[in-house]
Symmetry: C2
Subunit: 268 residues, 2 copies
């Protein structure tokens, strides 16, 4: 899915919600535990119930790898089940030398056919540019993350006294364009969004941290929205674990709808 289509989907659904399918085998409701593939059954029901309220799904690879080869199979099957109606993100935070990135690109853009993969920038341009060989696919580079220890390095200063994450976003944004790159910016750090928008006015931002982690939708919109909306706000636990009873999918739908309705006010 390209940027233009993503923008159209956002306008159509009046939503820029991304749902994070961080499905933990150990937190499944009892009612799916006897299915052939309990994690897939859980995902399938969440997807069926929430499709209309979101434009994207993000699957965090760790939660699938924890179940070994069968977990990878579930990851792949879930991506296929979502299909091409939604923007799909493999939240993998990969980053390696060039010939290895070619392999990761094959894994996520060919075998799994996702629209985007998250990448960690520590190893520089070699760890991002190989992914650009694929048209209409996105590399989503970590900028400013939502976790407490993000400050360890991302808020350390560069030699000009600027925060390191600003140095990273500035440098990395020169490697590609708004048509093949996005950046991760945590909602818990919304005060930085205005400065980030000065560097990358056009890129989409993937924003975790609204919901369980406490970030504010209003602040993110105020400082981060651009002409194409330019935001994918991710919520994971607050939606998929809204209830642990048999009607967990309806509870997830209700939660997703509440967020979608709040978002709709910002889309004219």
């Amino acid at each position: 899915m390209n940027r233009e289509t993503l923008h159209k989907e956002i306008l159509k659904k009046k939503s820029f919600l991304c749902i994070g399918l961080d499905t933990d085998m150990q937190r499944l409701p009892n009612c799916v535990k006897n299915a052939d593939d309990p994690v897939f059954e859980f995902n399938r029901r969440i997807i069926d119930a929430t499709r209309d309220y979101c434009v994207a799904y993000k699957l965090n690879t760790a939660f699938y790898e924890a179940n070994g080869a069968s977990g990878w199979h579930t990851l792949d099957k879930t991506m296929r089940y979502i299909g091409k109606s939604h923007f799909t993100i493999a939240d993998a935070k990969r980053g390696d030398i060039g010939n290895t990135c070619d392999m990761y690109a094959r894994a996520f853009f060919e075998a799994m056919n996702c629209d985007a993969v998250t990448l960690s920038p520590y190893m520089g341009s070699d760890s991002v540019t190989p992914f650009f060989k694929y048209a209409e696919k996105f590399s989503i580079v970590l900028g400013l993350t939502s976790n407490p220890s993000a400050v360890d390095f991302q808020n350390a200063k560069d030699q000009d006294g600027n925060d390191w994450f600003m140095h990273v976003i500035k440098t990395a944004s020169g490697w590609g364009t708004a048509d093949n790159m996005m950046f991760v910016v945590g909602a818990t750090r919304a005060e930085y969004l205005a400065d980030i928008r000065k560097i990358i006015p056009d890129h989409f931002l993937l924003i975790p941290g609204v919901g369980a982690q406490g970030g504010s939708l209003e602040d993110v919109v105020k400082y981060g929205m651009n002409k194409q909306i330019g935001l994918l706000i991710n919520a994971s636990r607050s939606i998929i674990y809204a209830s642990s009873d048999d009607a967990f999918d309806s509870a997830a739908a209700k939660e997703a709808q509440t967020i979608q309705q709040a978002m709709s006010k910002f889309i004219s």
Copy 2:
């Protein structure tokens, strides 16, 4: 495997060689292509032929993920085949928030039962310390990598005018100990090893870049060796693709033995 045992294995074998099983499906010799699991068959023959010359094997997860769920199965099967006689490394370069790291630790330290996993430090201590819950397992944090674009960020300066990778190694080394952490330092940048050893005299270093990437064994030993040897030097392509004919395993063994013999001179 703990640090003490690793040291003993190095002395016993007079080798600190780590062999990288970056096995590319598209570069397999014809003679294994009809096996049930061609990548595993290739790995099995390489392992059988090289066991005596190395103390560690490193499997780059990208090369397995490129083959989807069956690739992950091959990765797992290869780790089990190596067994506990050698130090096993999942070269995964993961890095995420705390609850996600718990999942990665489950994937690599429980399901796959490796001795170590490589981690990218961009997200700070949250992305490393969850792995410390497992005794006698190692988090190998990216310090200075061997790829050309490592300079993009790793050699940018911090506010004190120091290289960024030194800032990272200094900070990250405070999170754990030499018994649960190692660092990646590329052999192509051996001139930095003396400075790095001032910060982390005791930690093992995982050193890629000798072989195909052109780093020098002598320089690495000169600047990087400590009282416990403290080095795992990785070679991948130069060993596993030493030949593409039917005797690819003997060719790999010969190459590994040549490196082991060069290493033996530095072990008294």
